[in-house]
């Protein structure tokens, strides 16, 4: 029979005590205080908005985690929202022209205007942006914007030449004009070239015929139709010398990287894309989302937004612009976000050269899309 060990409980010696104390002192810096699991916020947005360069610091500071679902295009966004049950998305970043559709379909929550600092907005239009308010109630808050015009390779075209959409027809650019593959900005630009100005989206049958004719005449110049990655590559490797349908949101990334590309708002006018945050219907994290939107309107949030690695945009608040000028004056200069600059986006709006992107008023989106398919096959 096995003999039972008598002394199974060992008493702590002075040496043990010293050993444990030393171990505790050495490992203390590596022990983090227990922290609650982060609150998960489901975000629906264009690519880049949920990346760490934009939300990383906020996540860390507020113990939240963004689960970003990315889309490409307002139609795509509306489709995703409409096919998901309420409460799927807590935070929705939308192109401004689609906010009214989100609201009409009941996909977004009403917001309290008092929660957001509209007084700091750089332009009065931003405070009452079309579609963001309905019957005096707020449904979306603008957080960034950018301008679309003529994007070009600076070795192929001068800035003066680029000041008209007619530059796309330069004989030297035959087969070298690329299109961002979305009918809305491309056909909007053709509408501006046809002199429709502020009514670029509200055109009658004759005007629509004229736009189609103008666009078709550009077909021999067209070298390809690209998504974000393709647009980026074709400008970078010089395959495309000019690009229709984009602006600094793509060339800005390349320009910062040293590529000889630039974007200008031509004399016929430019188109503004506007991105706004809404709270998804049925979200159970309204307070957290509200806090995040407030952060994105703060100078720090605006700075992160304007410097977003995926695609740059302009600040909407004076505080954001001020911080950008202080911390990154080079980028502020490059994008014209400096008071008095000739390409100051606010100045361009005030001069009437910028038109907010919208959807066609007298035609359906599918009519524009049908023509776009015809154009691609021509």
């Amino acid at each position: 029979m096995k003999e039972l060990k008598k002394d199974t409980v060992k008493s702590t010696t002075r040496r043990d005590l010293l050993k444990y104390t030393a171990a505790a002192v050495v490992t203390a810096p590596f022990i983090k205080p227990a922290r609650a699991a982060p609150t998960e916020i489901n975000m629906l947005a264009w690519y880049g908005h949920g990346e760490s360069d934009v939300v990383g610091a906020y996540e860390e500071a507020n113990n939240v985690k963004f689960n970003a679902k990315y889309y490409a295009g307002g139609d795509n966004m509306l489709g995703l929202v409409s096919q998901s049950p309420p409460g799927t998305y807590d935070l929705i970043l939308s192109d401004a022209e689609f906010v009214s559709q989100l609201n009409a379909a009941g996909y977004i929550e009403e917001m309290d205007a008092a929660d957001y600092n509209f007084d700091d907005m750089l332009h009065d239009d931003f405070k009452q942006f079309p579609g963001h308010w309905k019957d005096g109630k707020l449904f979306s808050v603008m957080v960034r914007f950018g301008h679309l015009g003529v994007s070009y390779n600076t070795n192929a075209m001068s800035a003066e030449e680029a000041m008209s959409y007619k530059s796309f027809w330069k004989p030297e650019l035959k087969g070298k004009v690329g299109h961002f593959d979305w009918h809305l900005p491309n056909l909007g630009m053709m509408s501006l070239l046809n002199g429709n100005g502020a009514n670029l989206w509200d055109i009658d049958d004759a005007g629509w015929e004229a736009i189609q004719e103008t666009t078709m005449s550009l077909r021999p110049q067209a070298g390809g139709f690209f998504d974000y990655g393709g647009t980026f590559n074709s400008l970078k490797n010089g395959e495309m010398q000019a690009m229709c349908g984009i602006g600094d949101w793509i060339t800005g990334v390349l320009e910062k990287d040293g590529a000889p590309v630039a974007s200008v708002v031509p004399n016929e006018g430019g188109i503004q894309f506007t991105e706004s945050y809404s709270i998804g219907k049925g979200s159970s994290k309204v307070a957290e989302v509200k806090k995040f939107i407030q952060h994105m309107l703060s100078p720090e949030g605006q700075l992160r937004s304007t410097e977003m690695a995926a695609y740059p945009a302009f600040c909407v608040t004076a505080g954001g612009r001020e911080l950008l000028n202080k911390t990154n004056p080079k980028e502020a200069q490059r994008t014209g976000q400096v008071a008095g600059a000739v390409n100051d986006p606010i100045r361009l709006i005030n001069e009437g050269r910028i038109h907010y992107r919208d959807i066609p008023v007298q035609q359906g989106l599918e009519d524009w899309n049908d023509f776009w398919s015809d154009y691609k096959n021509a």
């Binding site: 490409a72 795509n76 691609k376």
Partner: protein, 286 residues
């Protein structure tokens, strides 16, 4: 001699082995296919599909010129890719099947499989560096005073992408098929005075017909439905049917109209596949 007609009995053992593939096909092929057909009659209202039976999507898509021009272009490019790939692959397959040692063949087969280790999209993007006007090919051509030639965003770029996709697979299929041929028959043909070229056309190709046709069929199917090469190397100009599907879904979430395009593509592939298989297994006239 009396022939007794065998009575077919329920064989639970055989059914057990067959059942998984039957269930799989029903769940993941027949089911979605039926849904796709049903969906082509649905309508989209406010970005939501409404379940109904309406021919509007069919009428709209089939009456559009861009659909037919995309169809012809896609069909033409897939046919051209099949012919080009088959012609390019055959000499290589022939050499691997008849002219090299077993060891070399094994290594060659291994290297033909290696491209599939990487994503097709990545392989496609790598052509940017090679085919761009400032790329490798044009840089080399510039040494002899030629070029630069525009290769990206053209049908040629698309074709290069198709070859990237199908050529390794086609060489594999052809090599396996040619390797099955009894070499004694080739010897016999030579002994009977048949020249090398005539042996290829009178003995080798007829005997490997099934494998060669199946390889070509795969080539057609993959090229016909490919989205990546026409989009990224062809610059979507002109667009193919798979790009048209994407455009249709992007604008207004018109999945039902995209379903119409998809059904037209699948019908084409069914017809081509059945015709090819029938041709491959057709017995030569005696």
């Amino acid at each position: 001699m009396t022939h007794h007609k065998r009575k077919r009995r329920f064989d639970a053992y055989a059914l057990t082995w067959r059942l998984p593939i039957i269930v799989w096909q029903l769940l993941f092929f027949v089911g979605p296919l039926l849904f796709l057909i049903a969906m082509s009659f649905f309508l989209v209202k406010n970005y939501r599909m409404v379940e109904t039976f309406d021919l509007a999507n069919w009428e709209r898509i089939l009456s559009r010129n861009y659909f037919w021009s995309s169809y012809l272009y896609t069909f033409g490019m897939a046919t051209l890719a099949t012919v080009v790939a088959s012609l390019l692959a055959f000499p290589a397959s022939y050499a691997l099947a008849f002219k090299v040692s077993d060891n070399v063949r094994r290594w060659a087969m291994f290297f033909l499989i290696v491209p599939f280790f990487t994503s097709y999209l990545v392989r496609t993007f790598s052509w940017y560096v090679i085919l761009a006007e400032t790329g490798v090919v044009n840089s080399l051509l510039s040494y002899i005073g030629a070029g630069p030639f525009t290769m990206l965003n053209t049908w040629f770029g698309t074709m290069v992408g198709f070859m990237t996709l199908v050529l390794p697979l086609l060489v594999l299929l052809q090599t396996l098929s040619l390797s099955q041929i009894d070499k004694n028959l080739i010897e016999a043909a030579h002994n009977l005075g048949c020249g090398r070229v005539r042996t290829v056309f009178s003995v080798i190709i007829p005997m490997a017909k099934i494998g060669l046709v199946v390889g070509a069929l795969f080539c057609f199917i993959l090229s016909f439905g490919d989205f990546i090469s026409p989009y990224y190397l062809g610059g979507s100009t002109p667009q193919t049917l798979s790009i048209l599907i994407l455009d249709t879904t992007k604008s207004g979430q018109q999945w039902p109209r995209a379903a119409v395009v998809a059904i037209c593509m699948m019908t084409t592939l069914f017809v081509i596949a059945f015709a090819s298989i029938a041709f491959a297994y057709r017995k030569p006239a005696s």
